[in-house]
Point group: C2
Chain length 361, copies 2
């Protein structure tokens, strides 16, 4: 019996009696740390899930050497696909797309397009990853814009939120499409029938918000989605009620996400400073260490690493660039869950259904 | 020698050898708790600053009764101005403006307009307060839109940020004006010559952002302000470098502020849960109590309560609706600092200077 796959507070046990193999391509050179992080994380995922196959994409010599050092042997469950180039973390998306046709990122996505892998995971440059994924995989018919979705810890467990930065300007229709796609993802990975959808705004009253948000609210009210109304920024982590999915344009979503990261860092620093004040507080810190560790684990951002690109014909998971082994492992496990749950097919079908419903209306 | 006035990590000693009296009107009925909070907070401020005079605005009978209960007597430093109405916390701004001409909020603002007070503090409904303040006090010539500015704790001390919700859609020119006004406020209250100004965006590269933000960046680059470029959401509390003033449109600024509030609440809940897990962790919590108290004080939002409306011809400070005594006291002390530092005059002069510089360019 395999270990359950963990993603944040989500836990899914792989039903191994029907052994369906699950193949994920890994941009092994991506991120701030490259193979140093991607390889041990990959090996750990292979150990935890016997149904998993991984294709490491990158410089063959480097990858072979690192794998040899690890001493692990997963037979045909682990293969290497050579790619001669790397996309830099600050490289312009358009240049990466035009000039780096044999980058580890591009080749990893090609494997998804060609059916050799069911998902791709990369810690590389977000802009380049999105541009390449969109170019290689193409959009789901009916979806105007791809969006980035991820989860945040909340007092209720966790909250899914999109768009986290793919689109700086969104129309009401874009926001509506994000809600349709996000709902399918949440339904699939959380096993809930009617995820509660909130629209991020600066107040809960009908009169609040900009024109796009007000128009999106109308579209959501008239839809079959479980739309609960406007929610404010605090609902991302600790609102008055549980919300499963929060929809925003990419500018607002990204600023909110980064603001939360900053707040967490500041609070963490203040806590550390208080315990480091003098030798007495340091002693108290030693006594409190197990409790503080427990607390840290509850909100550890590494357990929430991994954002999915929605709206594409294939599954691409973006890991934080600075991800360590645990964080990158979480991103691979998110890919495992979304492949198992057939998220891309479900989103495609739901988009077609929504379009058909509109045409017949 | 009076006590120094504290506001967040800011501390200003009133130079009492030139005893200039300082008169502030208090919307004593505003907020979730009304006189229960506004009166003790007011009395505490009077105790701390012998140059301060307060005018409590609201139902005379209620206020007199509460003051009698307190047993305090500040002679002519504390007076009551009767107002027969109250603006509800959920009342529509336009209705409050039209129908509540004798509200405690309106009368408190009238006192500023008529020169009987130098600032007004209210914990009432933000929308109604802004609409009333704008109607009664009028805008500074040359300023298109009022904005709401406040401070947030940061790993560097604190950061000023505007707009926090007055304007859902902003042009580049609006954002530029916010930067001009905010800079004057920061210069005055922080005693720094060239506050560093950042523009809130979803990345630090020139290519990032929406059209308004990119155009505002051009205006700021060509100005005399100390513009340091784009900053991301994490810079509000814990960015890579210290920023004194962060400029955003009111939608983004408000979502960021509320997201930070939510993150702080979630982290606080997780910390409490960890220490409340069992009798052993509870015991550890007792031992760690003084350290946790120290930590809590460092990021206590009550010590950052109070947002200033910029762009009006008079000073209005908005307190959080749910403010307790300490929080409301902080808001009054913010008004004291801004009056002493002559913030409104400095902003008006700077706006005229900026306009003149443009005309001559």
């Amino acid at each position: 019996m395999p270990n359950p796959i963990r993603f944040g507070s989500l836990s899914i046990t792989v039903e191994s009696f029907v052994s369906v193999s699950l193949i994920i391509s890994i941009d092994a050179m991506g991120g701030d740390h490259g193979p140093e992080v991607t390889i041990p994380a990959s090996l750990d995922c292979l150990k935890n899930n016997p149904d998993l196959k991984l294709i490491l994409v990158g410089d063959e010599t480097v990858l072979k050497q690192r794998l040899a050092q690890s001493g692990c042997d997963y037979g045909d469950r682990l293969s290497i696909q050579h790619a001669s180039e790397c996309v830099g973390m600050d490289e312009s998306p358009s240049k990466a797309l035009k000039n780096k046709k044999d980058s580890s990122m591009r080749v990893a996505i090609n494997l998804v397009r060609d059916g050799h892998a069911q998902a791709c995971v990369s810690a590389g440059n977000t802009g380049a990853l999105m541009a390449t994924a969109r170019f290689v995989l193409k959009m789901i018919p009916g979806v105007d814009r791809p969006a980035i979705i991820s989860t945040l810890p909340s007092i209720y467990g966790h909250t899914h939120v999109l768009d986290l930065g793919a689109n700086v300007d969104c129309t009401a229709e874009h926001l509506f499409q994000f809600a349709v796609m996000g709902t399918e993802l949440v339904k699939a990975v959380e096993n809930i029938e009617n995820p509660k959808v909130g629209l991020l705004n600066i107040g809960e009253e009908d009169t609040k918000g900009n024109e796009q948000v007000k128009a999106a609210a109308k579209l959501l009210e008239n839809s079959t989605l479980n739309y609960i109304g406007y929610v404010e920024g605090n609902s991302l982590n600790a609102g008055p009620v549980k919300v499963d999915l929060i929809v925003a344009d990419g500018f607002v979503g990204n600023v909110a996400l980064k603001s939360i990261e900053g707040a967490a860092k500041m609070i963490g620093t203040a806590l550390k400073d208080a315990f480091n004040k003098n030798s007495m507080t340091k002693l108290v810190g030693l006594i409190a260490y197990p409790v503080l560790k427990l607390f840290k684990k509850r909100i550890d951002p590494r357990l929430y690493n991994g954002a999915s690109f929605l709206g594409l014909r294939g599954l691409v998971i973006k890991s934080h660039g600075g991800a360590d082994e645990l964080a990158f492992k979480t991103a691979i496990q998110l890919a495992e869950v979304e492949v198992k749950k057939d998220v891309i097919r479900k989103i495609s079908e739901q988009v077609q259904l929504t379009l058909a419903r509109r045409e017949s209306a």
